[in-house]
């Protein structure tokens, strides 16, 4: 692929469109953070960063880029983990963080319409203030909604409420040629042709630039109670998960965690976890409108867990208790990061009844590849997060062993009927693994779709499946 090198003329053209130099960062003014995302595997500076404020502005920039064959990389808060928002081919980066307005709360249709730069935590707080609930709950609360949609982010409540895709009703998108289009809408049902909206979701900024999103809301559950369930072994804990799912009680979350990761979190947060009697825990969350309702709901599950060998079932029913558990759970990623020198992650997802096999495989992997691996994850939806840690290894040795470990992990996941990524996406970092996991026809179809949207391949090149 060859693109036009961004130069002074292009800069003038961009200034002409944006008409506010404060929102244009060029050369030395570009902060280091724009060169990478949260995990930093890929690093490359854009030539220019534009902090856009409207769809029209983005449309003008895209049009100019399209005509002049300049690559464009969309970016939200930069909290991705696979390099989706890194400008591999340099060129123009469009930062959506100033497009952070909540446009409309439609109480009659139970929808909210937002700009893409609204942060997940801002959205959650806003709707809660109005007694509504936006269920997707990825760990990174300072990610943008645009980013969440682009990776089809999942999070902790997927077991009961599903993922971001299930809450996107409509999108306004700027296409690579600069045209502004709308996919979907406020409608609840829609059988009107191909669902381009659904193609956009999870496309990691390769098909179009999301400039507006209409999201579905639910009434706010008034109360949540968690159960922290210690088991003698992790195997026993995870073997219980299919039983819970089969029991038809629907927790919002089923997580598993191990003592060693909890200790990392305790150190990171400087706060003790409320239980230490076991090495392996399941963490379940239930929501509802009253304590009584939730108690009736979890009673069956509590009994079932005890029958399955749980040591006890501990009840977390106040703000302080919830915080002592979930703050630790939320800090796992940062805590593991803090416990080593560098790391990379695997975000595979397997069918729920295969979680145990996968976890055991991960646990024993160090016998084959000499590298430290820590895992935790969403036992209830089969999405596991494994972190491969550098520790004292040389960069070269780390990369070698990590590649070997990843290769094996993805192979095992595929054997179990799993997928490469559950919620973090493919981006730049996981491309080889995705290519390996898909048959050539599927890649061919993806390629055709990309061409239909972006014939000149200027929008976020080298991502997802492209070489």
């Amino acid at each position: 692929m060859s693109y036009k090198k961004f130069d002074q003329t292009d800069l003038e053209a961009i200034k002409n469109i944006v008409k506010d130099e404060e929102r244009i960062l060029y050369a030395k003014n570009i902060n280091e953070e724009y060169s990478h995302d949260e995990l930093g595997g890929a690093s490359s500076y854009p030539d220019v960063v534009v902090k856009a404020t409207s769809a029209e502005e983005i449309s003008e920039i895209m049009k100019y880029a399209y005509e002049n064959n300049i690559p464009v990389t969309p970016r939200g808060a930069g909290t991705g983990l696979v390099g989706s928002s890194v400008a591999i081919e340099h060129g123009i980066m469009i930062d959506s963080s100033l497009m952070n307005h909540i446009l409309e709360l439609d109480e009659e249709n139970l929808t909210i319409t937002v700009e893409p730069g609204v942060l997940l935590m801002e959205l959650a707080a806003y709707v809660e203030d109005h007694d509504f609930f936006y269920p997707p709950d990825p760990g990174e609360k300072s990610a943008t909604i645009g980013g969440n949609i682009s990776t089809n982010a999942g999070g902790m409540r997927a077991v009961k409420y599903g993922v971001t895709r299930d809450y996107v009703r409509g999108l306004e998108v700027v296409l690579p040629n600069g045209k502004i289009v709308e996919f979907g809408g406020k409608v609840v049902k829609n059988s009107s042709g191909y669902s381009l909206k659904d193609l956009m979701i999870g496309s990691e900024g390769t098909l179009g630039f999301i400039t507006k999103a209409t999201l579905k809301l639910l009434p706010l559950p008034k109360k949540a109670i968690s159960l922290l369930i210690p088991f003698k072994t992790l195997k026993e804990a995870i073997d219980t998960v299919p039983l819970i799912i089969k029991s038809k009680a629907i927790p919002t979350a089923i997580e598993f965690m191990q003592r060693e990761v909890i200790i990392d979190a305790e150190e990171y947060l400087g706060k003790k976890f409320p239980d230490s009697q076991s090495d392996a825990y399941l963490l379940l969350k239930f929501d509802g409108n009253s304590t009584e309702e939730i108690e009736a709901d979890y009673d069956k599950v509590a009994k079932l867990c005890l029958e399955a060998g749980a040591i006890d079932v501990l009840i977390s029913d106040t703000e302080e208790r919830e915080e002592s558990i979930w703050k630790a759970r939320g800090a796992f990623l940062e805590a593991i990061k803090g416990s080593t020198t560098d790391m990379d992650e695997v975000d595979m997802v397997v069918p729920r009844n295969k979680v145990n096999e996968m976890v055991e495989y991960l646990h024993n992997l160090h016998n084959e590849v000499d590298i430290r691996i820590k895992s935790f994850g969403h036992a209830g939806d089969g999405n596991l997060h494994s972190y491969i840690l550098k520790d004292d290894l040389s960069q070269e040795e780390f990369e070698k062993r990590m590649a070997a470990a990843m290769e094996k992990i993805y192979e095992k996941a595929a054997q179990l009927g799993g997928k490469v990524s559950g919620e973090h996406g493919i981006g730049f970092a996981k491309k080889p693994y995705l290519r390996e996991s898909l048959d050539p026809e599927t890649i061919e179809l993806m390629s055709g779709i990309k061409k239909a949207f972006d014939p000149k391949n200027i929008l976020n090149p080298h991502k997802v499946f492209q070489g």
């Binding site: 003790k272 976890f273 509590a302 006890d312 501990l314 009840i315």
Partner: protein, 262 residues
């Protein structure tokens, strides 16, 4: 070793507001919970019992609904619980509250050690524990941040003073108010909750007390009166200073001096 822990039911959220026009307290929902500071006292009791054995009882004062927090204490491992509940206890300030609790404790029996949390999240006074110890005429120590040694006749603790830690040995019977974070409180157990579902909670009214003089309880026994409640003025101050660096530094210096940080 017989330990008693004083616990209280408080609103689940202390995000209360006062209607600026009517002066009415607006509570955010009717949900309630155990005073979070009491959990540290409970955990301390449980840790001591694990070490030296004995019994743990709890006492609380409030409407019948406050039995919920006693049940919760059972689910955390407590053996016995009593609730002081009577309309005539209503409107009690610190003095009348502590007197009522002290009367209740006398009714329950003799204890070696009485534990309290640092304060409650609704009243915030941190005074009731000390006053209870006075009514019972036993020694008391507040700001206990560590239990160093438990012996058959005394307990050795660390008291947190601003600049130093005082290590003191206190003879039983005594009352300790423990600091937040002395131990991380455990979670209530479902198994214990089921096991104790039928356990009786003793309920005492004014008529069960040794002192039956109504003027010592409730509003009548309270020297302080709340004249009015009102919302605090929020710090929504917003000031922009620009200009010369030394000018700004001078202004900042004056401000933090006024605020007594220098």
């Amino acid at each position: 070793m017989d330990i008693l822990v004083c616990i209280k039911q408080v609103p689940a959220s202390n995000k209360v507001e006062v209607d600026p026009v009517t002066g009415v307290l607006l509570r955010n929902g009717a949900d309630s919970k155990m005073n979070p500071y009491d959990l540290y006292a409970l955990e301390t009791a449980l840790k001591i019992r694990e070490e030296v054995g004995g019994t743990i009882s709890v006492i609380s004062m409030g409407p019948p609904q406050a039995m919920t927090v006693i049940r919760e204490a059972f689910a955390m491992g407590v053996d016995r619980g009593a609730l002081l509940s009577d309309r005539r206890f209503g409107g009690a300030d610190v003095l009348a509250t502590s007197y009522t609790i002290a009367q209740g404790i006398k009714k329950m029996g003799d204890f070696d050690l009485i534990l309290c949390g640092k304060q409650t999240t609704d009243g915030d006074t941190a005074q009731v524990g000390s006053e209870v110890s006075e009514w019972l005429n036993i020694p008391s120590v507040s700001n206990v941040k560590k239990i160093s040694k438990v012996e058959s006749d005394a307990i050795t603790i660390e008291m947190d003073l601003p600049e130093e830690l005082e290590i003191a040995k206190v003879q039983y019977p005594c009352l300790l108010s423990v600091d937040k974070d002395i131990f991380q409180p455990r979670l209530p157990s479902y198994v214990k909750k089921m096991d104790t579902a039928d356990r009786e909670i003793e309920v005492y009214s004014l008529d069960d007390m040794e002192d039956k003089d109504e003027t010592h309880y409730g509003l009548n026994g309270s020297p302080t009166q709340v004249k009015r409640i009102f919302p605090p003025t929020a710090n929504d101050h917003h000031e922009v200073w620009d200009g010369d660096g030394s000018e700004v530094a001078d202004k900042l210096f004056d401000m933090i001096t006024d605020m007594k940080f220098i």
